[in-house]
């Protein structure tokens, strides 16, 4: 990684920047010269011939927030790390310009880099939850920065570290400084990491996906904090795949794909009037209430689905008519019913209720969503429904039969009628098995006998999920995330279940792949009439796919009902807070960049306009971005 340079470093690079009060002045900072300029950046790894970043050019002006968006693997993080000379040991970095505040970064020596890093450019890494040393108190991590980049020593340094933590939005920073990352929630950890990046008050902050894996409420806080920094004159390079996040913070946007820039421009402009088809596709793939009934992926359903839909008008009993059913209830029989479920887990600090008095009913062909923050008991509810966990009290009835009363053979038979699709599909496959073996096992378990019959049904299942026969000999490990999820769905459908429990089935997927899988799930439901218990922390996904929704908090259902009704008129304060915290693309476009949320979401919730839902079920995919009315674009 060390690049050899000849030029001696100017003393300026290592100066103690925070000791100069004059730098606070916005006039100075709103300099026309960009603080960071990158031209024709090419980054490759090891002996791979293809570079992953292929000639990216951009600049960040002083006091400006530039966002880089693009799908997973498009080279965003590599670009960001390259700016700091941290692309990795096996990286080959080349650029015709790579300069920071007039300093040619390409010619820096390792020693000189040390002055730049954190001193003048702060970096917030992508994996925030694991980017702090788990063995050290966060205060010491911040102090480490100050030790390197300021003259502060002893109590003075401590004071300034605590000050940085406070500025990063950590309440009671003095106490928190003495804690280790594991003792902090995800949001606090993210802010502590930001504190290390801003402690030495660098001119430029690079924040790589600073809100991934955070709950919406916490995400809102972090975004507000970053915007606040820009408003106080710092420059920001924000990296995200999440358009709504970008919209709420960035002044300008850079859209990248496969290591190349496809579109660049003013944030509001690009998001409201995308010119490049890829940008359009990205925007269209975002699920929301408005996208209900519309295909997110822009791709037609598989031929097989079409055939089944056509055939089902004749009706084979198991397959329902293709039209989306109405939600007035009573039409279709209840297939899954939970009543007063409670489940607690023993921990070091005593028993803890993970699920507390949860009841719901799921009808054939219907989708019941469950949303809630991390740890609210969503997965536990799913496991109870699947009969994997036994409830402490309450019951789960499947087609009228109580799980609790089943045992042995009957239990195993009953299991077939309720199947699961998980977030991490790969781990649910026996690593030794090929797709063919996976499907064969599932089919054999559900009573299909004979080679010919097995082959026919396997082919049918693959067709249903839009995979071709060629994958039968492949192992899931060598397949893409989307393909794996399709195999997982195919397997779940093999026993022709009444209910599919989907626990965050698209949370690990890129927005465009997510769009395909969501489309597929909708297609399959239409074709087979299977009911979904659909869990997600993403309100957009829920409002796209679910008919009804349970909102969970701390193991309890705080609100439930029709999706539309709940998201339009939330009654419980918690639901309202959830909804408010979701960054809204539209709102952001109107407000940004001048009046971004100041700091905490409580204030944001007051000013946020009520959600406006489109009642129309179907909207043309092409046109949709024009009238985006997104509840949620977070996945």
């Amino acid at each position: 990684m060390t690049r050899k340079g000849v030029g001696e470093l100017s003393g300026e690079l290592t100066r103690d920047v925070t000791d100069e009060p004059g730098r606070e002045s916005p006039d100075v900072l709103r300099d026309a010269r960009p603080i960071l300029a990158v031209r024709d950046l090419v980054v490759g790894f090891g002996n791979q011939a293809e570079p992953v970043v292929r000639g990216v050019s951009f600049h960040v002006n002083r006091g400006e927030a530039l966002a880089i968006v693009g799908e997973s693997g498009s080279g965003k993080s590599v670009t960001a790390r390259s700016v700091l000379g941290l692309a990795g040991d096996n990286a080959r970095v080349a650029a015709s310009e790579l300069s920071f505040d007039g300093v040619d970064l390409r010619r820096l020596r390792e020693r000189q880099w040390r002055g730049i890093r954190s001193g003048r450019i702060g970096l917030v890494l992508q994996d925030a939850l694991v980017s702090l040393d788990p063995f050290r108190e966060v205060g010491r991590e911040v102090e480490e920065v100050l030790a390197l980049h300021s003259n502060a020593r002893g109590p003075e340094r401590r004071r300034r570290a605590i000050d940085a933590l406070t500025r990063a939005g950590i309440p009671d920073a003095e106490r928190r400084a003495r804690q280790i990352p594991a003792e902090l929630s995800g949001g606090l950890r993210q802010r502590a990491l930001i504190a290390t990046a801003i402690a030495a008050d660098p001119e430029l902050i690079i924040a790589d996906e600073p809100t991934t894996a955070l709950d919406v409420t916490v995400q809102a806080q972090v975004l507000a904090l970053l915007r606040g920094l820009v408003d106080r004159g710092r420059s920001l390079l924000l990296i995200s795949h999440d358009l709504a996040v970008v919209a709420s913070v960035a002044d300008r946007v850079l859209v990248v794909r496969h290591g190349e820039v496809v579109e660049e421009g003013d944030a509001a402009d690009v998001l409201a009037r995308p010119r490049h088809p890829y940008t359009k596709q990205l925007l269209a793939a975002v699920p929301s209430a408005a996208s209900r009934g519309r295909r997110l992926s822009g791709e037609p359903p598989s031929a097989y689905i079409e055939r089944v839909r056509d055939a089902s008008h004749g009706g084979d009993g198991r397959q329902l008519a293709g039209e989306r059913r109405s939600h007035d209830g009573g039409d279709h029989p209840i297939v899954l019913e939970a009543d007063g479920l409670a489940k607690s887990f023993g921990t070091a600090g005593g028993a803890r209720l993970a699920v507390d008095d949860v009841s719901f009913a799921l009808r054939r062909g219907e989708t019941l969503g469950i949303v809630g923050e991390s740890g609210s008991g969503k997965s536990t509810t799913a496991r109870l429904a699947l009969g994997i966990e036994k409830p402490d009290s309450g019951s789960v009835r499947l087609d009228g039969r109580d799980w609790n009363e089943l045992g042995g053979r009957a239990l195993r038979a009953a299991r077939l009628s309720i199947q699961a699709v998980h977030q991490d599909a790969l781990s649910t496959f026996d690593p030794r098995h090929t797709v063919g073996a996976i499907l064969t096992e599932a089919l054999a378990a559900s009573g299909v006998r004979g080679g010919a019959e097995l082959r026919a049904r396997s082919a049918e299942l693959l067709a249903l999920v839009g995979l071709d026969d060629g994958v039968l000999d492949r192992r899931p490990l060598r397949m893409s995330g989307g393909q794996r999820q399709r195999v997982s769905i195919a397997r779940a459908l093999a026993p022709r279940p009444d209910v599919l429990v989907c626990d965050e089935p698209v949370s690990a997927l890129d927005v465009s792949i997510q769009a395909q899988v969501l489309d597929l799930l909708v297609d399959v439901q239409r074709a087979t009439g299977v009911a979904y218990l659909f869990i997600s922390h993403d309100l957009g996904v829920i409002s796209h796919i679910a008919d009804r929704v349970l909102v969970m908090k701390d193991g309890r259902v705080v609100e439930h009902g029709e999706v539309r009704q709940i998201f339009e008129r939330p009654e419980h304060p918690y639901t309202r807070r959830l909804l408010d915290a979701v960054p809204r693309l539209e709102a952001a476009l109107e407000a940004a960049p001048e009046s971004a949320p100041e700091s905490v979401p409580e204030s944001a919730s007051e000013t946020a306009p009520g959600p406006e839902l489109d009642a129309a079920g179907t909207v043309e995919a092409e046109a949709s971005h024009d009238r985006l009315d997104l509840q949620s674009v977070r996945r």
């Binding site: 077939l416 199947q419 699961a420 991490d424 649910t428 690593p431 030794r432 096992e441 192992r475 397997r491």
Partner: protein, 272 residues
């Protein structure tokens, strides 16, 4: 990462495989490879390497190279045999503990704990104290001594897989517990253990040689690497090469086995 990369073994692995193939040939048909009868006593004792005796002669005037070649069988038998014993015993206990109920598990694991509290060499010595020396007994001793650690490994593996999501998925398909054990848990638990076992072969070979070295190994006339080393140390000041050659054979074998074992391990891990 990609299939192409992991399929073709690197040079070191190829070299190791070639050496192991040579050892296998030495074990199976030493008479085709060795230049002399390993038992033929000659007039020149402790002779330096020469054209007639490329690695010199031993204290009885026998050809050291031939004895090393003929000794391969014992070394491989010891290494692989002992590991096989540890593997079978350890797997039985480990699977029992990993799949059994609380009671079974704690009983088995207490036994395993007791076994683990003995250093392997010590356990082997105790077994030898009971059974006496000799190749078979040394094999038994090392094999038995290895059981506890294999049992612990297999149990951990079994427990991990027992809780793996894909086992839960199989359960969700209504498979019975025995079916799940046979189809999913055992094959997945055993495979990495088998790979680890290949590496264990090296350790067992060294342990076998150590037992021979301290006088608890193979009786004559069968040539044995450990015994050769043990004898050679009496003549170190006269003929150092005699002490070097058998040790080199052991070391090369262990290195080869380890290299191949690690490669196999990486391959299986890459498949997960």
């Amino acid at each position: 990462m990609s299939a192409a990369v992991s399929r073709r073994p690197p040079v070191a692995v190829l070299a190791a495989l070639v050496f192991l193939a040579f050892l296998a040939a030495s074990a199976l048909v030493p008479q085709w490879i060795a230049p002399h009868d390993p038992l033929a006593i000659g007039p020149h004792v402790l002779a330096a390497p020469s054209a007639a005796h490329p690695l010199g002669t031993d204290e009885n005037g026998r050809d050291v190279l031939s004895r090393i070649i003929y000794g391969t069988r014992e070394a491989l038998l010891l290494g692989f045999g002992a590991v096989a014993l540890s593997l079978v015993g350890g797997s039985a206990l480990g699977v029992l503990a990993g799949l059994g109920n609380r009671f079974v598990e704690s009983v088995v694991m207490r036994f395993v704990d007791i076994g683990l509290a003995f250093p392997e060499m010590l356990l082997a010595l105790v077994v030898i104290a009971v059974t006496g020396g000799g190749t078979t007994n040394a094999l038994m001793a090392i094999g038995i001594a290895g059981i506890p650690s294999f049992a612990r490994l297999v149990r951990a593996q079994t427990l991990g897989i027992r809780r793996a999501p894909f086992v839960e998925a199989a359960r969700g398909l209504g498979l019975s517990e025995p079916q799940i054990v046979v189809r999913h848990i055992l094959p997945n638990a055993i495979r990495p253990i088998l790979v680890l076992a290949t590496i264990g072969v090296g350790t067992a070979t060294v342990a076998g040689a150590a037992l021979s070295f301290i006088g608890l190994g193979t009786p004559p006339p069968a040539p044995s690497w450990g015994v050769m080393l043990s004898t050679a140390r009496n003549f170190l000041d006269r003929s150092w090469w005699y002490g070097v050659m058998p040790g080199l054979a052991i070391t090369l074998m262990v290195v080869s086995v380890t290299v191949v074992g690690r490669w196999l391990q990486r391959r299986t891990e890459a498949r997960r």
